[in-house]
Every structure is written in C-alpha cells, then in structure tokens.
C-alpha cells in the first residue's frame, strides 16, 4: 500500500495564475436555459477561465513561479529541483520542466522532469518532489502544476465543455529538519482509463483523418477523437467509491480524524460530487473549501489554486493543518495530510 510519510520537508509558499478571459456557463447556449440552470446548480460551476490560443500551461506556471520566487526572495542559484505536473505540455518532447528551468533562469545544476498526471497530480507531485528532496537532502525545489484543459474540449460536448478551466500554479518546497512530516496515501486503477481520455494523438492511436471526424455520441454530446471524452457517471461512481475510503485509511495510518484539520482541499470536480464525499466523511461544511464556482475544474492546479484563492490570509498568518485530496483521470487518486506555517502566498495572478 502506498501509505507513507515524508520527513524534513515543508511548503514555503504557493502561487497561482489564471487567464484573464472568463466564460460564464449561463452563456453556454449549446444547451437550453433549463438545462443550463440545472447544470450550474448541480455541478456548482458558474465561470471558467480560458487561456488564449498562444498561452500554455507552462506560461501560467512560469508567471506563478516568478511571482512566488520574488515574494520568497529566493536566490535562484539555490534551486536544485523543478518538477512540472501536467497533461498539457508545450511539446511532446522535450519535457516542459526543462524549458522552464531555462526560462526561469535557474542554474544548470537544477534537476528537472515532468510528471504526467491530471486531477490527482498535486498530491502525487508533492510526494515526488518531497520524497526526492527528503532522501537526498536537496535544499530548495519548485513544484509547478497545472493544465490548459480547455484546448482539448469540444464546445458541442455538454458533458465536458462546461466543467473545465485553465490554471497554472507554483509551490515552493524546502528541506527543513524542524518541519512536521507529511502523510500520503496514493492509489491508481488503470482499469478505469476509458472514463476520462483523449483517445487519439498518442502512440496507441496516432492521429489520422478519422481523429478529427466529429461524432454525435448522444444529444448535446458531439466530439472527435482528439477531444477529451469524459464519462460523467463512471467518474462520479469512482469518486464516491474511492475517495472517502482513501482518506479514512490515511486517518488510520496517521492516527488523525476530521478534527485534526483546519481545512480540507479536495480536487474541484463538481459540487454534487464533492459535497457527497464531504457528507460521507461527515466533515463540517465550513472546513471544505471551493473555487468551483469561479474557476471550474482546473485539473492538477485545483488544490493550490483553492489555497491561494480561499485561505490566502490564513496561510500567510497562521500555522495550518490541511488535508488535500486529488482524484480523477487515470484513474488516479491520493490524499496528503500536511502542516503549513506562515507561508508565502501572493494573490492570484491574471495573464
């Protein structure tokens, strides 16, 4: 079981960047007004940020990282690790993390690599960079996480288009022997890989003419094979089945309960899903934070974006005990229990 603790690592700061351009689901004319109202009420997403054609995930993460480094006043030459978590890289190859090393003017002594995960990516990314730094003693690192999910959506697909927004984030990680441990419970189930998939464009199904032929799956759902296809019912079923037991296992492992956490940051999937998970775990509503309404589902950026947006002041001024949990595409899911102590947290950046 991937239940483990990482010692001597702390989060020193977190920043988030979103595109300026905003779309409202109330203006989503592909579906009827009744359906729109029902959709917004059920999934809780009113507005989403859409990156321009030229803006990439790496661009948003870059802006977040620049701001965060400025705020922390870190010497760039001290940064030894950079991990970029995304499923929308700049290129098939090379890895965007390596390009970001150069763009951020980090030294050539920085190690850099990408992690290909979506909704669970923040929890996984934290474990990867923290585990690496903890075991090697590397002093300073950057975890960049985000996605430009909107570029693979078909506006004629009501099952995916109104759900996603774009965002990029940066998290500063430091080696610190005085820090509290972080506890992780990470899981995967590839048998559910069809539930969220872009079927064509990789090596399994290379792009052909057929890849771009639109198909009507059912009323209101039109897409081609290079678009993201999301089986809402299966993802819903998976999340209700797996998320609460994962967190309960983590509680058993680290001997904690709901009362030990100030805030719960769940991946921002949809309101009905997240609220059902909250009810299953019997967590008080005021401890569970949301940015769904204004930003939608921002993939691996959703947890840090929610931190920056919803508990900015608290993160800067108080020690906090947090429970983070990401779940989705893969299928892949995981939770992290961690403590922060007055970290850098600049306001959301817009580009």
């Amino acid at each position: 079981m991937a239940l483990f603790s990482i010692k001597n690592i702390r989060i020193s700061g977190v920043a988030a960047c979103v595109p300026k351009h905003e779309e409202s689901n109330y203006d989503y004319n592909w579906i009827s007004e009744t359906e729109r109202k029902m959709l917004v009420k059920t999934i809780g997403i009113e507005k989403r940020r859409i990156a321009s054609e030229k803006t990439t995930t790496a661009d948003m993460c870059y802006e977040a990282a620049v701001k965060l480094l400025e705020e922390l006043n870190w010497n760039k030459n001290d940064i030894e690790a950079l991990v970029f978590v995304s499923q929308s890289p700049d290129y098939f190859l090379p890895a965007s993390s390596v390009l970001l090393q150069d763009r951020l003017k980090l030294p050539k002594t920085t190690l850099a690599f990408d992690v290909n995960l979506g909704c669970s990516g923040y929890a996984y990314g934290l474990s990867v960079i923290s585990g690496l730094m903890s075991s090697t003693g590397l002093k300073k690192g950057l975890l960049l996480a985000g996605d430009k999910s909107t570029s693979s959506l078909n506006p004629k697909d009501k099952s995916s288009y109104p759900l996603f927004g774009d965002a990029g984030t940066a998290t500063a990680i430091e080696y610190d022997t005085y820090s509290s441990k972080m506890d992780f419970n990470l899981q995967s189930d590839g048998s559910g890989h069809q539930a969220i998939i872009i079927p064509h464009g990789g090596m399994r199904n290379p792009v052909t003419e057929e890849s771009y032929q639109e198909e009507e799956i059912e009323k209101g759902i039109v897409r081609h094979k290079r678009n993201l296809a999301l089986d809402g019912l299966e993802v819903f079923n998976f999340s209700l089945r797996e998320v609460a037991p994962n967190i309960k296992k983590l509680y058993e492992y680290n001997s904690t309960s709901n009362d030990d956490y100030d805030y719960f940051l769940f991946h921002q999937a949809n309101l009905l899903m997240n609220e059902s998970i909250r009810k299953k775990l019997k967590i008080e509503p005021e401890k569970v934070l949301y940015t769904l309404k204004n930003f939608g589902n921002t993939s691996s950026a959703s947890i840090p974006l929610t931190m920056v947006s919803e508990i900015n002041t608290q993160l800067k001024t108080e020690p906090l005990s947090l429970l983070l949990c990401g779940f989705g595409v893969g299928l892949s899911w995981g939770s992290v229990a961690l403590k922060t102590n007055k970290i850098a947290c600049p306001q959301i950046i817009e580009i």
Partner: protein
C-alpha cells in the same frame, strides 16, 4: 426500506418535480425534467441514503422507479 419513502426522497432532490407526481411505475428517464444531472443526483442520493453505489450501467438497466428500488434492495 419503503418505496414510498424512496419516492419522497427523489421528489425532494428533483426540485422541479411536484410532490406526489412520481409513482413506482414512472419511467424516470421519460420525465420531461430528466437530464444527465438527474442521474448524478440519483447516484448521490442512493449512495448517501442506502449505502449502495450505482453504476452508469445499473441506471441504464432500470426503466421505472420500482426497477431502481428493486436493484437497490438487491445490492444492499
């Protein structure tokens, strides 16, 4: 477990549906208000109230509210 109670719970969740308008023999997918959102609402309701997790296929295999209720009883 009582089907009338289940119907009442459904009517409460489906805000647009009038009270006492659903019957055991109602084909829920044929309701004018029915949308994919209602499928999610049913799955969430059944999970929280009856501790039964319905799949997309489960839902698709049911025609009426009574079918759904029978399936929930069987899966419990």
């Amino acid at each position: 477990m009582d089907i009338n109670n289940f119907i009442k719970e459904l009517e409460e969740e489906f805000e647009e549906v009038e009270a006492n308008s659903l019957k055991p023999e109602t084909s829920f997918r044929d309701l004018p208000e029915w949308s994919s959102m209602h499928a999610l609402i049913v799955i969430a309701l059944v999970d929280i109230q009856y501790d039964v997790l319905l799949t997309g296929n489960d839902l698709r295999s049911c025609e009426t509210i009574s079918d759904l209720f029978t399936l929930i009883k069987k899966k419990r």
